[in-house]
Amino acid sequence: MKRLINLQPAPPLRFILGLLPLVLLVLLYVWASDARLAANPVDKLLPSLGQFADAIKLMAWEPDKRSGDILLWVDTLSSLQRLAIGIALSALFGLMLGLVTGALPLVNAGFSPLLTLISLIPPMAILPILFIVFGLGELSKVALILVGVGPIIARDMQRQTREIPFEQLVKAQTLGANSLQILTGVLLPQLLPRLIGSIRLALGTGWLFLIAAEAIASTDGLGYRIFLVRRYMAMDIILPYVAWIALLALIIDQGLMRLNRRLFPWYQSEGGR
Protein backbone atom coordinates (compact mmCIF):
# COMPACT_ATOMS: atom_id res chain seq x y z
CA MET A 1 0.00 0.00 0.00
CA LYS A 2 1.38 3.38 -0.99
CA ARG A 3 1.52 6.24 1.45
CA LEU A 4 -1.60 8.37 1.50
CA ILE A 5 0.25 11.41 0.14
CA ASN A 6 1.25 9.41 -2.94
CA LEU A 7 -2.21 8.19 -3.87
CA GLN A 8 -3.51 10.03 -6.94
CA PRO A 9 -7.16 9.74 -7.98
CA ALA A 10 -7.68 8.59 -11.60
CA PRO A 11 -9.75 11.05 -13.73
CA PRO A 12 -13.25 9.50 -13.28
CA LEU A 13 -12.66 9.05 -9.57
CA ARG A 14 -11.36 12.59 -9.32
CA PHE A 15 -14.57 13.89 -10.91
CA ILE A 16 -16.77 11.84 -8.61
CA LEU A 17 -14.75 12.92 -5.57
CA GLY A 18 -15.19 16.53 -6.62
CA LEU A 19 -18.94 16.18 -7.09
CA LEU A 20 -19.58 14.16 -3.96
CA PRO A 21 -19.51 16.97 -1.35
CA LEU A 22 -21.75 19.08 -3.58
CA VAL A 23 -24.36 16.31 -3.88
CA LEU A 24 -24.20 15.64 -0.16
CA LEU A 25 -24.72 19.33 0.54
CA VAL A 26 -27.80 19.47 -1.68
CA LEU A 27 -29.23 16.31 -0.09
CA LEU A 28 -28.59 17.71 3.36
CA TYR A 29 -30.32 20.94 2.39
CA VAL A 30 -33.38 19.18 0.97
CA TRP A 31 -33.68 17.07 4.09
CA ALA A 32 -33.36 20.08 6.42
CA SER A 33 -35.76 22.16 4.33
CA ASP A 34 -38.37 19.38 4.30
CA ALA A 35 -38.09 19.00 8.07
CA ARG A 36 -38.56 22.71 8.69
CA LEU A 37 -41.43 23.09 6.21
CA ALA A 38 -43.18 20.05 7.73
CA ALA A 39 -43.04 21.73 11.12
CA ASN A 40 -44.04 25.17 9.79
CA PRO A 41 -45.35 25.45 6.17
CA VAL A 42 -44.72 29.25 6.01
CA ASP A 43 -41.11 29.00 7.19
CA LYS A 44 -38.89 31.24 5.00
CA LEU A 45 -35.40 30.23 6.09
CA LEU A 46 -34.93 27.07 4.01
CA PRO A 47 -37.27 27.19 0.98
CA SER A 48 -38.00 23.99 -0.92
CA LEU A 49 -36.62 23.33 -4.41
CA GLY A 50 -40.08 24.10 -5.84
CA GLN A 51 -40.12 27.51 -4.17
CA PHE A 52 -36.70 28.21 -5.66
CA ALA A 53 -37.97 27.30 -9.12
CA ASP A 54 -40.89 29.71 -8.73
CA ALA A 55 -38.64 32.51 -7.53
CA ILE A 56 -36.16 31.96 -10.37
CA LYS A 57 -39.01 31.99 -12.86
CA LEU A 58 -40.29 35.22 -11.37
CA MET A 59 -36.93 36.96 -11.45
CA ALA A 60 -35.45 35.60 -14.69
CA TRP A 61 -38.45 35.25 -17.01
CA GLU A 62 -41.33 37.43 -15.92
CA PRO A 63 -41.25 41.22 -16.37
CA ASP A 64 -41.44 43.20 -13.15
CA LYS A 65 -44.98 44.55 -12.51
CA ARG A 66 -43.78 48.07 -11.81
CA SER A 67 -40.96 48.65 -14.30
CA GLY A 68 -41.68 46.00 -16.90
CA ASP A 69 -38.03 44.87 -16.77
CA ILE A 70 -36.85 41.35 -16.23
CA LEU A 71 -35.05 41.98 -12.97
CA LEU A 72 -32.31 39.33 -13.02
CA TRP A 73 -31.04 40.47 -16.40
CA VAL A 74 -31.19 44.16 -15.55
CA ASP A 75 -29.34 43.49 -12.30
CA THR A 76 -26.76 41.30 -13.99
CA LEU A 77 -26.12 43.81 -16.73
CA SER A 78 -25.66 46.73 -14.35
CA SER A 79 -23.38 44.78 -12.03
CA LEU A 80 -21.22 43.34 -14.78
CA GLN A 81 -20.88 46.74 -16.36
CA ARG A 82 -19.70 48.30 -13.10
CA LEU A 83 -17.37 45.41 -12.43
CA ALA A 84 -15.92 45.50 -15.94
CA ILE A 85 -15.25 49.23 -15.89
CA GLY A 86 -13.86 49.13 -12.36
CA ILE A 87 -11.58 46.17 -13.07
CA ALA A 88 -10.46 47.55 -16.43
CA LEU A 89 -9.49 50.87 -14.85
CA SER A 90 -7.75 49.06 -11.98
CA ALA A 91 -5.84 46.88 -14.44
CA LEU A 92 -4.72 49.87 -16.49
CA PHE A 93 -3.73 51.82 -13.40
CA GLY A 94 -2.03 48.83 -11.80
CA LEU A 95 -0.14 47.88 -14.95
CA MET A 96 1.21 51.37 -15.56
CA LEU A 97 2.13 52.07 -11.97
CA GLY A 98 3.55 48.58 -11.37
CA LEU A 99 5.61 48.77 -14.55
CA VAL A 100 7.21 52.14 -13.91
CA THR A 101 7.80 51.58 -10.20
CA GLY A 102 9.10 48.07 -10.81
CA ALA A 103 11.41 49.09 -13.63
CA LEU A 104 12.59 52.57 -12.69
CA PRO A 105 14.24 52.88 -9.27
CA LEU A 106 13.84 56.66 -9.35
CA VAL A 107 10.07 56.48 -9.82
CA ASN A 108 9.87 53.72 -7.26
CA ALA A 109 11.60 55.86 -4.66
CA GLY A 110 8.98 58.53 -5.27
CA PHE A 111 5.85 56.38 -5.39
CA SER A 112 6.46 53.30 -3.29
CA PRO A 113 5.79 54.78 0.16
CA LEU A 114 2.58 56.40 -1.07
CA LEU A 115 1.41 53.20 -2.73
CA THR A 116 2.10 51.20 0.42
CA LEU A 117 0.23 53.75 2.52
CA ILE A 118 -2.77 53.81 0.18
CA SER A 119 -3.01 50.04 0.10
CA LEU A 120 -3.14 50.02 3.90
CA ILE A 121 -6.32 52.14 3.97
CA PRO A 122 -9.44 49.94 4.09
CA PRO A 123 -11.31 51.03 0.94
CA MET A 124 -14.68 50.77 2.67
CA ALA A 125 -13.57 53.46 5.09
CA ILE A 126 -13.29 55.97 2.27
CA LEU A 127 -16.56 54.96 0.59
CA PRO A 128 -18.36 57.92 2.21
CA ILE A 129 -15.73 60.22 0.73
CA LEU A 130 -16.34 58.69 -2.69
CA PHE A 131 -20.09 59.23 -2.29
CA ILE A 132 -19.51 62.84 -1.30
CA VAL A 133 -17.07 63.53 -4.13
CA PHE A 134 -18.62 61.50 -6.94
CA GLY A 135 -22.26 61.45 -5.85
CA LEU A 136 -24.39 58.32 -5.54
CA GLY A 137 -24.23 57.43 -9.24
CA GLU A 138 -22.18 54.92 -11.17
CA LEU A 139 -18.95 56.83 -10.73
CA SER A 140 -18.64 56.25 -7.01
CA LYS A 141 -19.18 52.49 -7.37
CA VAL A 142 -16.56 52.22 -10.07
CA ALA A 143 -14.28 54.40 -7.96
CA LEU A 144 -14.67 52.06 -4.98
CA ILE A 145 -13.60 49.08 -7.09
CA LEU A 146 -10.67 51.11 -8.41
CA VAL A 147 -9.59 52.14 -4.91
CA GLY A 148 -9.98 48.60 -3.61
CA VAL A 149 -8.48 46.63 -6.48
CA GLY A 150 -6.10 49.09 -8.19
CA PRO A 151 -3.41 49.04 -5.49
CA ILE A 152 -3.54 45.24 -5.25
CA ILE A 153 -2.90 44.89 -8.97
CA ALA A 154 -0.28 47.65 -8.92
CA ARG A 155 1.73 45.96 -6.18
CA ASP A 156 1.46 42.60 -7.88
CA MET A 157 2.61 44.08 -11.19
CA GLN A 158 5.48 45.81 -9.43
CA ARG A 159 6.62 42.50 -7.95
CA GLN A 160 6.21 40.70 -11.27
CA THR A 161 8.22 43.38 -13.07
CA ARG A 162 11.08 42.89 -10.65
CA GLU A 163 10.94 39.13 -11.12
CA ILE A 164 11.67 39.35 -14.82
CA PRO A 165 15.31 38.24 -14.95
CA PHE A 166 17.84 41.06 -14.80
CA GLU A 167 19.78 39.25 -17.52
CA GLN A 168 17.09 40.21 -20.03
CA LEU A 169 17.39 43.89 -19.18
CA VAL A 170 21.16 43.71 -19.56
CA LYS A 171 20.76 41.82 -22.81
CA ALA A 172 18.40 44.47 -24.20
CA GLN A 173 20.91 47.17 -23.28
CA THR A 174 23.67 45.35 -25.11
CA LEU A 175 21.35 45.35 -28.12
CA GLY A 176 21.21 49.11 -27.94
CA ALA A 177 17.80 49.48 -26.26
CA ASN A 178 17.05 52.66 -24.30
CA SER A 179 14.92 52.75 -21.15
CA LEU A 180 11.65 53.38 -22.98
CA GLN A 181 12.32 50.52 -25.38
CA ILE A 182 13.05 48.17 -22.51
CA LEU A 183 9.80 49.17 -20.83
CA THR A 184 7.67 48.80 -23.95
CA GLY A 185 9.54 46.06 -25.78
CA VAL A 186 10.80 43.76 -23.04
CA LEU A 187 8.84 44.33 -19.83
CA LEU A 188 5.35 45.35 -20.97
CA PRO A 189 4.70 42.41 -23.29
CA GLN A 190 5.87 40.01 -20.60
CA LEU A 191 3.64 41.66 -18.02
CA LEU A 192 0.42 41.27 -20.01
CA PRO A 193 -0.17 37.56 -19.28
CA ARG A 194 0.84 38.19 -15.68
CA LEU A 195 -1.70 41.02 -15.57
CA ILE A 196 -4.45 38.63 -16.58
CA GLY A 197 -3.35 36.30 -13.79
CA SER A 198 -3.37 39.19 -11.39
CA ILE A 199 -6.88 40.22 -12.48
CA ARG A 200 -8.13 36.69 -11.89
CA LEU A 201 -6.88 36.83 -8.32
CA ALA A 202 -8.20 40.35 -7.74
CA LEU A 203 -11.68 39.66 -9.12
CA GLY A 204 -12.88 38.20 -5.83
CA THR A 205 -12.02 41.47 -4.14
CA GLY A 206 -13.65 43.31 -7.03
CA TRP A 207 -16.94 41.49 -6.44
CA LEU A 208 -16.74 42.27 -2.75
CA PHE A 209 -16.53 46.01 -3.31
CA LEU A 210 -19.10 45.93 -6.09
CA ILE A 211 -21.69 44.26 -3.90
CA ALA A 212 -20.86 46.48 -0.95
CA ALA A 213 -21.30 49.62 -3.06
CA GLU A 214 -24.55 48.34 -4.55
CA ALA A 215 -25.91 47.39 -1.16
CA ILE A 216 -25.33 50.86 0.20
CA ALA A 217 -26.42 53.12 -2.63
CA SER A 218 -28.00 51.80 -5.80
CA THR A 219 -31.27 51.22 -7.58
CA ASP A 220 -30.30 48.07 -9.39
CA GLY A 221 -27.58 45.42 -9.49
CA LEU A 222 -27.11 41.98 -8.01
CA GLY A 223 -25.90 43.31 -4.67
CA TYR A 224 -28.75 45.81 -4.49
CA ARG A 225 -31.35 43.09 -5.10
CA ILE A 226 -29.98 40.73 -2.48
CA PHE A 227 -29.98 43.42 0.16
CA LEU A 228 -33.43 44.66 -0.91
CA VAL A 229 -35.19 41.31 -0.63
CA ARG A 230 -33.42 40.60 2.63
CA ARG A 231 -36.11 42.80 4.22
CA TYR A 232 -38.71 40.17 3.30
CA MET A 233 -36.38 37.33 4.28
CA ALA A 234 -36.74 36.13 0.69
CA MET A 235 -34.24 33.29 0.88
CA ASP A 236 -35.84 31.84 -2.25
CA ILE A 237 -34.42 34.84 -4.17
CA ILE A 238 -31.21 35.43 -2.24
CA LEU A 239 -29.81 31.93 -2.61
CA PRO A 240 -30.33 31.71 -6.41
CA TYR A 241 -28.76 35.17 -6.75
CA VAL A 242 -25.75 34.04 -4.75
CA ALA A 243 -25.44 30.93 -6.88
CA TRP A 244 -25.76 33.07 -10.01
CA ILE A 245 -22.97 35.39 -8.83
CA ALA A 246 -20.75 32.39 -8.13
CA LEU A 247 -21.48 31.03 -11.59
CA LEU A 248 -20.69 34.38 -13.23
CA ALA A 249 -17.43 34.59 -11.27
CA LEU A 250 -16.50 31.08 -12.38
CA ILE A 251 -17.26 31.83 -16.03
CA ILE A 252 -15.22 35.04 -15.96
CA ASP A 253 -12.31 33.29 -14.28
CA GLN A 254 -12.26 30.41 -16.74
CA GLY A 255 -12.71 32.80 -19.64
CA LEU A 256 -9.69 34.82 -18.57
CA MET A 257 -7.64 31.67 -18.15
CA ARG A 258 -8.49 30.56 -21.67
CA LEU A 259 -7.87 34.03 -23.07
CA ASN A 260 -4.44 33.97 -21.47
CA ARG A 261 -3.59 30.62 -23.02
CA ARG A 262 -4.82 31.73 -26.42
CA LEU A 263 -3.09 35.11 -26.46
CA PHE A 264 0.20 34.20 -24.81
CA PRO A 265 1.18 30.65 -25.71
CA TRP A 266 4.80 31.38 -24.76
CA TYR A 267 3.83 32.14 -21.18
CA GLN A 268 2.22 28.86 -20.18
CA SER A 269 5.33 26.75 -19.82
CA GLU A 270 7.14 29.78 -18.44
CA GLY A 271 5.62 29.03 -15.07
CA GLY A 272 2.19 30.36 -15.93
CA ARG A 273 -0.75 28.41 -14.63
Binding site: P165, E167, Q168, V170, K171, A172, Q173, T174, L175, G176, A177, N178, L180, Q181, T184, G185, V186, P189, Q190, F264, P265, W266, Y267, S269, E270
Partner: protein
Protein backbone atom coordinates in the same frame (compact mmCIF):
# COMPACT_ATOMS: atom_id res chain seq x y z
CA UNK B 1 42.61 47.44 -26.89
CA UNK B 2 41.78 46.80 -23.23
CA UNK B 3 44.11 47.95 -20.50
CA UNK B 4 43.59 46.93 -16.88
CA UNK B 5 45.64 48.73 -14.25
CA UNK B 6 45.64 47.67 -10.62
CA UNK B 7 41.91 46.90 -10.64
CA UNK B 8 40.07 46.18 -7.34
CA UNK B 9 36.45 45.30 -6.70
CA UNK B 10 34.93 45.27 -3.23
CA UNK B 11 31.38 44.82 -1.99
CA UNK B 12 31.41 46.55 1.38
CA UNK B 13 34.06 44.76 3.44
CA UNK B 14 34.31 41.89 1.01
CA UNK B 15 37.12 42.03 -1.48
CA UNK B 16 36.24 40.08 -4.59
CA UNK B 17 38.99 41.06 -7.02
CA UNK B 18 42.31 42.70 -6.26
CA UNK B 19 45.42 43.93 -8.06
CA UNK B 20 44.44 42.87 -11.53
CA UNK B 21 46.78 44.02 -14.25
CA UNK B 22 46.52 42.94 -17.84
CA UNK B 23 46.49 44.07 -21.40
CA UNK B 24 44.28 42.55 -24.05
CA UNK B 25 44.73 42.96 -27.79
CA UNK B 26 41.97 43.03 -30.37
CA UNK B 27 41.01 39.54 -31.50
CA UNK B 28 42.18 37.61 -28.46
CA UNK B 29 40.06 34.79 -27.09
CA UNK B 30 40.49 34.70 -23.35
CA UNK B 31 39.07 31.95 -21.21
CA UNK B 32 38.63 32.57 -17.49
CA UNK B 33 38.70 29.75 -14.98
CA UNK B 34 38.68 29.72 -11.19
CA UNK B 35 36.83 28.25 -8.25
CA UNK B 36 33.15 29.03 -7.88
CA UNK B 37 32.55 32.42 -6.26
CA UNK B 38 36.05 33.74 -6.91
CA UNK B 39 34.81 36.69 -8.98
CA UNK B 40 34.82 35.62 -12.63
CA UNK B 41 31.29 36.86 -13.25
CA UNK B 42 32.13 40.02 -11.35
CA UNK B 43 35.02 40.60 -13.72
CA UNK B 44 32.72 40.23 -16.73
CA UNK B 45 30.26 42.64 -15.13
CA UNK B 46 33.04 45.21 -14.89
CA UNK B 47 33.78 44.75 -18.58
CA UNK B 48 30.08 44.91 -19.38
CA UNK B 49 29.49 48.01 -17.30
CA UNK B 50 26.79 46.71 -14.95
CA UNK B 51 29.29 46.97 -12.07
CA UNK B 52 32.00 49.55 -11.48
CA UNK B 53 35.46 48.96 -10.06
CA UNK B 54 36.26 50.19 -6.55
CA UNK B 55 39.77 51.19 -7.48
CA UNK B 56 42.10 51.13 -10.46
CA UNK B 57 41.54 51.60 -14.16
CA UNK B 58 39.70 49.64 -16.81
CA UNK B 59 40.37 51.23 -20.17
CA UNK B 60 38.98 50.54 -23.61
CA UNK B 61 41.07 52.21 -26.31
CA UNK B 62 42.64 54.36 -23.64
CA UNK B 63 39.33 55.66 -22.24
CA UNK B 64 37.42 54.38 -19.18
CA UNK B 65 35.06 51.64 -20.30
CA UNK B 66 31.44 52.96 -20.43
CA UNK B 67 29.67 52.44 -17.09
CA UNK B 68 26.56 51.04 -18.75
CA UNK B 69 26.04 48.17 -21.20
CA UNK B 70 26.01 49.15 -24.87
CA UNK B 71 25.91 47.53 -28.28
CA UNK B 72 29.68 47.25 -28.59
CA UNK B 73 29.83 44.62 -25.86
CA UNK B 74 27.63 41.56 -26.36
CA UNK B 75 26.83 39.09 -23.61
CA UNK B 76 25.59 35.52 -23.29
CA UNK B 77 24.64 34.36 -19.81
CA UNK B 78 24.24 30.78 -18.67
CA UNK B 79 20.47 31.27 -18.87
CA UNK B 80 17.69 33.87 -19.20
CA UNK B 81 19.52 35.57 -22.07
CA UNK B 82 16.73 35.41 -24.62
CA UNK B 83 13.31 37.05 -24.60
CA UNK B 84 10.69 34.39 -23.83
CA UNK B 85 7.84 36.36 -25.43
CA UNK B 86 9.45 36.58 -28.86
CA UNK B 87 9.90 33.86 -31.46
CA UNK B 88 13.42 32.77 -32.42
CA UNK B 89 13.38 35.05 -35.47
CA UNK B 90 11.94 38.02 -33.57
CA UNK B 91 14.50 37.57 -30.80
CA UNK B 92 17.22 38.28 -33.33
CA UNK B 93 15.27 40.96 -35.20
CA UNK B 94 14.59 42.75 -31.92
CA UNK B 95 18.21 43.84 -31.80
CA UNK B 96 17.79 45.69 -35.09
CA UNK B 97 14.52 47.22 -33.90
CA UNK B 98 16.14 48.48 -30.70
CA UNK B 99 19.12 49.82 -32.57
CA UNK B 100 16.83 51.75 -34.91
CA UNK B 101 14.99 53.32 -32.03
CA UNK B 102 11.67 51.50 -32.40
CA UNK B 103 9.43 51.66 -29.35
CA UNK B 104 8.35 48.05 -29.57
CA UNK B 105 10.62 45.24 -30.58
CA UNK B 106 9.03 45.33 -34.04
CA UNK B 107 9.92 46.85 -37.39
CA UNK B 108 7.86 47.70 -40.46
CA UNK B 109 8.25 47.69 -44.23
CA UNK B 110 11.62 47.55 -45.94
CA UNK B 111 13.51 47.76 -42.66
CA UNK B 112 11.61 44.74 -41.49
CA UNK B 113 12.49 42.75 -44.61
CA UNK B 114 16.14 43.66 -44.26
CA UNK B 115 16.24 42.80 -40.59
CA UNK B 116 14.49 39.55 -41.34
CA UNK B 117 16.97 38.55 -44.01
CA UNK B 118 19.85 39.43 -41.74
CA UNK B 119 18.36 37.46 -38.84
CA UNK B 120 17.66 34.45 -41.05
CA UNK B 121 21.24 34.41 -42.31
CA UNK B 122 22.61 34.60 -38.80
CA UNK B 123 20.27 31.92 -37.50
CA UNK B 124 21.29 29.74 -40.42
CA UNK B 125 24.92 30.05 -39.35
CA UNK B 126 24.06 28.86 -35.83
CA UNK B 127 21.89 26.06 -37.17
CA UNK B 128 18.47 27.30 -36.13
CA UNK B 129 16.84 27.76 -39.56
CA UNK B 130 14.28 25.08 -38.86
CA UNK B 131 12.81 26.70 -35.75
CA UNK B 132 12.42 30.35 -36.77
CA UNK B 133 8.85 30.60 -35.52
CA UNK B 134 9.29 28.64 -32.29
CA UNK B 135 9.34 30.28 -28.88
CA UNK B 136 12.39 29.84 -26.65
CA UNK B 137 10.59 27.49 -24.25
CA UNK B 138 10.11 25.06 -27.10
CA UNK B 139 13.86 24.83 -27.72
CA UNK B 140 16.43 22.60 -26.06
CA UNK B 141 19.05 24.18 -23.81
CA UNK B 142 21.68 24.01 -26.56
CA UNK B 143 19.40 25.63 -29.12
CA UNK B 144 18.52 28.39 -26.67
CA UNK B 145 22.20 29.17 -26.19
CA UNK B 146 22.73 29.20 -29.96
CA UNK B 147 19.91 31.70 -30.16
CA UNK B 148 21.46 33.80 -27.40
CA UNK B 149 24.78 33.80 -29.27
CA UNK B 150 23.12 34.77 -32.57
CA UNK B 151 21.24 37.54 -30.78
CA UNK B 152 24.40 38.83 -29.16
CA UNK B 153 26.15 39.01 -32.52
CA UNK B 154 23.54 40.74 -34.73
CA UNK B 155 24.86 44.20 -34.04
CA UNK B 156 28.46 43.11 -34.56
CA UNK B 157 29.87 43.96 -31.14
CA UNK B 158 33.64 44.28 -30.76
CA UNK B 159 33.71 42.36 -27.52
CA UNK B 160 31.75 39.22 -26.73
CA UNK B 161 31.37 38.18 -23.10
CA UNK B 162 30.32 34.62 -22.33
CA UNK B 163 29.51 33.64 -18.73
CA UNK B 164 29.54 29.85 -18.54
CA UNK B 165 27.45 29.72 -21.70
CA UNK B 166 27.65 25.94 -22.00
CA UNK B 167 27.62 25.16 -18.29
CA UNK B 168 24.11 23.73 -18.39
CA UNK B 169 24.57 21.70 -21.57
CA UNK B 170 25.31 18.02 -22.12
CA UNK B 171 28.96 17.32 -22.84
CA UNK B 172 27.95 15.87 -26.22
CA UNK B 173 26.41 19.13 -27.39
CA UNK B 174 29.29 21.21 -26.14
CA UNK B 175 31.61 20.07 -28.92
CA UNK B 176 29.27 21.53 -31.54
CA UNK B 177 28.98 24.73 -29.56
CA UNK B 178 32.77 25.06 -29.37
CA UNK B 179 33.03 24.77 -33.12
CA UNK B 180 30.29 27.34 -33.54
CA UNK B 181 31.85 29.88 -31.24
CA UNK B 182 35.31 29.46 -32.80
CA UNK B 183 33.87 29.97 -36.28
CA UNK B 184 32.02 33.09 -35.28
CA UNK B 185 35.09 34.42 -33.51
CA UNK B 186 37.12 34.03 -36.71
CA UNK B 187 34.44 35.41 -39.02
CA UNK B 188 33.55 38.46 -36.96
CA UNK B 189 37.03 39.19 -35.57
CA UNK B 190 35.68 39.37 -32.06
CA UNK B 191 37.53 39.81 -28.83
CA UNK B 192 36.10 37.12 -26.58
CA UNK B 193 36.08 36.69 -22.81
CA UNK B 194 34.61 33.37 -21.79
CA UNK B 195 34.13 32.10 -18.26
CA UNK B 196 34.09 28.35 -17.95
CA UNK B 197 34.29 25.85 -15.14
CA UNK B 198 35.65 23.27 -17.53
CA UNK B 199 39.43 23.58 -17.64
CA UNK B 200 39.66 21.46 -20.80
CA UNK B 201 37.29 23.90 -22.50
CA UNK B 202 39.55 26.71 -21.33
CA UNK B 203 42.65 25.11 -22.84
CA UNK B 204 41.02 23.98 -26.03
CA UNK B 205 39.04 27.06 -26.99
CA UNK B 206 41.00 30.21 -26.30
CA UNK B 207 44.23 31.83 -27.28
CA UNK B 208 44.91 32.81 -23.72
CA UNK B 209 43.91 31.37 -20.36
CA UNK B 210 43.45 33.34 -17.15
CA UNK B 211 43.19 31.61 -13.82
CA UNK B 212 41.57 33.59 -11.02
CA UNK B 213 42.53 32.70 -7.47
CA UNK B 214 43.30 34.21 -4.10
CA UNK B 215 46.97 34.47 -3.30
CA UNK B 216 46.55 36.08 0.09
CA UNK B 217 44.50 34.43 2.81
CA UNK B 218 43.46 35.63 6.23
CA UNK B 219 42.03 32.67 8.19
CA UNK B 220 40.22 35.06 10.58
CA UNK B 221 38.57 37.01 7.76
CA UNK B 222 38.25 34.93 4.60
CA UNK B 223 36.57 37.82 2.80
CA UNK B 224 39.38 40.28 3.44
CA UNK B 225 41.33 39.44 0.29
CA UNK B 226 40.15 39.05 -3.26
CA UNK B 227 41.19 36.95 -6.20
CA UNK B 228 43.64 38.00 -8.84
CA UNK B 229 44.99 36.52 -12.06
CA UNK B 230 47.41 33.81 -10.93
CA UNK B 231 48.13 32.35 -14.36
CA UNK B 232 48.07 34.22 -17.64
CA UNK B 233 49.21 31.79 -20.27
CA UNK B 234 48.97 31.58 -24.02
CA UNK B 235 47.28 28.28 -24.73
CA UNK B 236 47.97 25.80 -27.43
CA UNK B 237 51.51 25.07 -26.18
CA UNK B 238 50.82 24.42 -22.53
CA UNK B 239 52.90 21.85 -20.74
CA UNK B 240 51.13 18.91 -19.16
CA UNK B 241 52.68 19.81 -15.82
CA UNK B 242 51.10 23.26 -15.70
CA UNK B 243 47.73 21.80 -16.69
CA UNK B 244 47.86 19.38 -13.78
CA UNK B 245 49.09 22.05 -11.43
CA UNK B 246 46.12 24.28 -12.25
CA UNK B 247 43.71 21.40 -12.25
CA UNK B 248 44.92 20.48 -8.80
CA UNK B 249 44.58 24.01 -7.56
CA UNK B 250 40.97 24.31 -8.77
CA UNK B 251 39.84 20.86 -7.73
CA UNK B 252 42.16 19.55 -5.06
CA UNK B 253 41.07 15.95 -5.53
CA UNK B 254 43.27 13.00 -6.28
CA UNK B 255 43.40 12.30 -9.99
CA UNK B 256 42.21 8.89 -11.08
Amino acid sequence: MIQINNLWKRYGDTSVLERINAEVKEGEFITLVGTSGCGKSTFLKLLLGTEQQSQGELLLDGKPIPAEPDRHRGIVFQQYSVFPHLSVLKNVMAARAFAEGRISALLLGRRRREARAEAEALLESVGLSHVLESYPHQLSGGMRQRLAIAQALVLKPRILLLDEPFGALDPGIRGDMHELILNLWHQQQLTVFMVTHDLKEGFYLGTRLWVFDKIRHDPQAPQAFGATITYDIPVGRTERKIYEEIDNQLRPVAAV
